[in-house]
Symmetry: C2
Subunit: 133 residues, 2 copies
Amino acid sequence: MTAKIEGRSRELLEQPNFCFVATLREDGTPHVTPVWVDADGDHVVLNSARGRAWPTNLERDPRVTLTIPNGENMYEYVTIRGRVAEMTEDGADAHIDALAKKYLGQDSYPFRTPDERRIVVRIAPEQVKLWGG
Amino acid sequence: MTAKIEGRSRELLEQPNFCFVATLREDGTPHVTPVWVDADGDHVVLNSARGRAWPTNLERDPRVTLTIPNGENMYEYVTIRGRVAEMTEDGADAHIDALAKKYLGQDSYPFRTPDERRIVVRIAPEQVKLWGG
């Protein structure tokens, strides 16, 4: 079961809106945190660093729900249910720079720490729903 | 284990910011949706209607995480882990009117439908964490 991200839903991902990533903690409780977001072909593309809470949750359980609100009108949002398709360090540094350009207008991600290992997290959407607007 | 919502965290709840409510679906996947929010003594107070997805999830499993970002600076947010303390229809209509005043500047909630039964959902915080800012 896969779903496409099209039309206004895709626009919300392409604009510099935040994505609220809901994952499952080890004890089964839900976790939710805001991150930058991007779309790439059929996937939602997120970026994090090894050891952070939400990608660690996704290594254990790949089921995820994303809510991306229009930052200028929070009554409009897209909700995406899906699963992790890929988590990789390949290309992750270039990808966080691209996100820094999108969100901060900077060519290079300014918050990098010497020991962090960035990862790209690709989510395969299974259901896409647009609300409000 | 209970936690207090104080200082800047409480300000984020008192200002008209949105709250991203993460709950568990029946199949165990995480769900997340934006709602209005309010604080009342030691509880986070939300409002919904019987039959909506997230309060139905909470009737089944009371474990919840809330993320409330500063709408003017999404890099600042408070995350609250907790459990449902109470779900009741008592006072729920007056409470949604108070939220309409806070968020829309209107004395009466304008989106009420004839058949909906509003509910107040009180969350007891177990962990409160302020990020960014």
